[in-house]
């Protein structure tokens, strides 16, 4: 299958010293749910920002949906973010003076046309049908993150990138969020979820582990699993790609 995301020797140096990413090569197929794991500072967020075209690599190539986004101009990267990517952050970034539904509509506004009905439907699907007109300050952390998820999916992006989406949530809320992810995954969305919680990582199709900016090679005992797959640099956990 044609990979949706393909990186080749992607590197990122900050200030010419800190090597946040070190020649990372990976492939992610459409519909896959991939967990990115690793210690703090291992380069997980940096990788996510590259794929979201929020940041530029120092060297290497990164194809998303068949195009090398490293060569994009600033304007093209803006368009790319708006059309191809949905972003979820650890800190539930919402505009504080807009209601839940308006926050979702904001993503539609930048993308094309705000559609209130559609935005409300998206919030209902994450269980916030009763909180449509609440301001972020009136919502719990878990509810705020669910608004962010609804916002990330509202424009039907090719990829959803989540950076420690449950990092600031308790177990109950974490479970709710994970249920939503499973649901979205079943619906065919491509998910890239950064986490350092193994429990969350294990729910993904496979895990990419980073260490000091490098992809950790697959452990030899697990090699046998990989014989029939394209993925040489990752650990498949379960085989369930929609084809």
């Amino acid at each position: 299958m044609e990979p949706l995301i393909l990186s080749h020797e992607l590197s990122k140096n900050y200030n010419g010293k800190v090597c946040a990413l070190d020649r990372v090569s990976l492939e992610i197929c459409p519909g896959e749910w991939v967990a990115v794991m690793g210690a703090s500072g291992s380069g997980k967020s940096t990788l996510l920002n590259m794929i979201a075209a929020l940041d530029l690599p120092t060297s290497g190539a990164l194809w998303v949906d068949g195009v090398d986004i490293v060569t994009y101009t600033e304007e093209e990267r803006v368009r790319f973010r708006r059309e191809k990517v949905g972003l979820i952050f650890q800190h539930f970034y919402l505009i504080p003076y807009l209601t839940a539904v308006e926050n979702v509509m904001l993503a539609q506004y930048f993308h094309s046309m705000p559609d209130k009905g559609e935005a409300e439907e998206a919030l209902r699907r994450v269980g916030l049908g009763e909180r449509l007109d609440s301001l972020p300050s009136e919502l719990s952390g878990g509810e705020q993150q669910r608004v962010c998820i609804a916002r990330a999916f509202i424009n039907q992006p090719k990829i959803v990138l989540a950076d420690e989406p449950t990092g600031n949530l308790d177990a109950t809320n974490e479970e709710t969020i994970m249920k939503i992810f499973h649901h979205l995954h079943r619906a065919g969305h491509t998910l890239l979820v950064v986490t350092h919680d193994p429990h969350i990582g294990q729910q993904a199709d496979r895990i990419i582990e980073l260490d000091h900016g490098r992809v950790v090679p697959v452990v030899s005992s697990q090699r046998s699993f990989l014989k029939n797959t394209n993925f040489t640099l990752s650990i498949p956990i379960k085989e369930k790609h929609p084809t």
């Binding site: 929020l54 952050f89 970034y93 505009i95 904001l106 930048f110 705000p114």
Partner: protein, 371 residues
């Protein structure tokens, strides 16, 4: 689409009432003082010049040297010519001669009393202004010296002719006129045997015109008359007005700078507090231009509100000055609102675009890292 823009703007304005109100006030302050300065310049300066001009004539017409001791009364029509008429507030002709009154040499001036009253509004008359040919206005000093009182008869002798007048009023001017006696022009011409002749004409030029141009126009129209500027008044007047103008300009400039800085710092602080919000918008796919547009709209709102408020306060401020200095209201300039709006929009847009530019340079990835 448009609706959403408004929705965002209004919600944002409502949410940040405090800082917005601060910016509006800073903009309004700048606009107030500039509008006041403009109104003072346009309204009060004209009035001030007029008031200064009320201190009397500022031009004197006398016979050109080499043309004899007199001007011809019939030539006064030159001053009614359309080329100078609008430049003049008024003029008053005089025929001066020295006559004997009660045995003393006294300067007698023949004049047109209505004109004298208009050109010298500060002349104070005890009793009343003469109305008939046989009445005289006696300087305070002369009245005291000769023991003349209202209604007393007064004979003036010139060479072999004599005319008798009655004292209608006593004149107080604070100047040399208090040593003189004034009668009607016709009587003076008759007494001295110089019918139709004048020794001088006092001219008061209008406040809104340039003195040197008026002088040139007069010289051209009436070549037999020499034009002299009464320097004390005219020059002091122009110097004072220029100084006031410079002072007002400087005040307006400094206030504008101060208000600009204040708006600027409010907006910068705001923007740094909102950088997460702006980074988020950019992560959601808003271009730097769209973010700048939202900023500019907010700034325009602040500018319009501040500008209107400032215009109103500026006019109010001008009226207060008008009332305290002249004891009357000043007609506010039509430029007040455009000036206020211009200043308001200028100051707020300039600072907001500056700030938006700085924000746009922050990488959203760095801001949203949020550690």
């Amino acid at each position: 689409m448009r609706e959403m823009t408004w929705q965002i703007l209004l919600a944002s304005l409502r949410y940040r009432k405090g800082p917005i109100a601060g910016s509006v006030c800073a903009v309004a302050l700048g606009a107030t003082l500039v509008v006041a300065a403009v109104n003072l310049r346009l309204g009060i300066m004209g009035r001030l010049a007029g008031e200064l001009r009320n201190y009397g004539a500022n031009l004197l017409l006398v016979p050109q040297s080499g043309t004899g001791p007199f001007l011809n009364e019939t030539q006064l029509h030159n001053l009614e010519d359309s080329r100078v008429k609008d430049r003049l507030r008024g003029y008053v002709p005089f025929l001066y001669s020295v006559v004997k009154i009660r045995g003393r040499d006294i300067v007698l001036g023949g004049t047109l009393f209505t004109a004298a009253k208009a050109v010298h509004p500060w002349w104070q008359v005890e009793g009343r202004w003469p109305r008939e040919k046989g009445e005289a206005l006696v300087g305070l000093n002369v009245a005291a010296k000769l023991g003349l009182r209202l209604g007393d008869p007064l004979s003036a002798v010139y060479k072999s002719s004599r005319l008798t007048f009655s004292v209608a009023g006593v004149l107080r001017t604070g100047g040399s006129e208090e040593h003189q006696v004034f009668v009607s022009l016709e009587s003076a011409q008759q007494l001295t045997g110089h019918p139709g002749l004048l020794t001088s004409v006092y001219v008061s030029s209008s406040a809104t015109t340039r003195l040197d141009e008026t002088v040139a126009a007069l010289r051209k129209l009436w070549p037999e008359a020499g034009v002299r500027t009464l320097l004390q008044v005219a020059e002091a007047e122009e110097k004072l007005l220029t100084r006031l103008e410079i002072f007002l300009g400087l005040v307006a400039l400094f206030v504008l700078l101060a208000s600009g800085l204040s708006v600027f710092s409010t907006m910068t602080k705001e923007a740094l507090e909102r950088k997460v919000e702006l980074a988020l918008m950019r992560a959601l796919g808003a271009g730097a231009r769209e973010v700048a547009w939202i900023f500019a709209c907010e700034a325009a709102g602040i500018g319009v509100f501040g500008g209107i408020l400032g215009s109103a306060l500026g006019v109010l401020f001008t009226e207060m000055i008008g009332l305290s200095v002249f004891g009357s209201l000043v007609y506010p300039s039509l430029m007040s609102l455009p000036t206020g709006l211009g200043i308001g929009l200028g100051v707020s847009l300039f600072s907001s675009l500056w700030v938006a530019k700085r924000i746009a340079r922050l990488a959203p990835a760095v801001v949203l890292r949020g550690e």
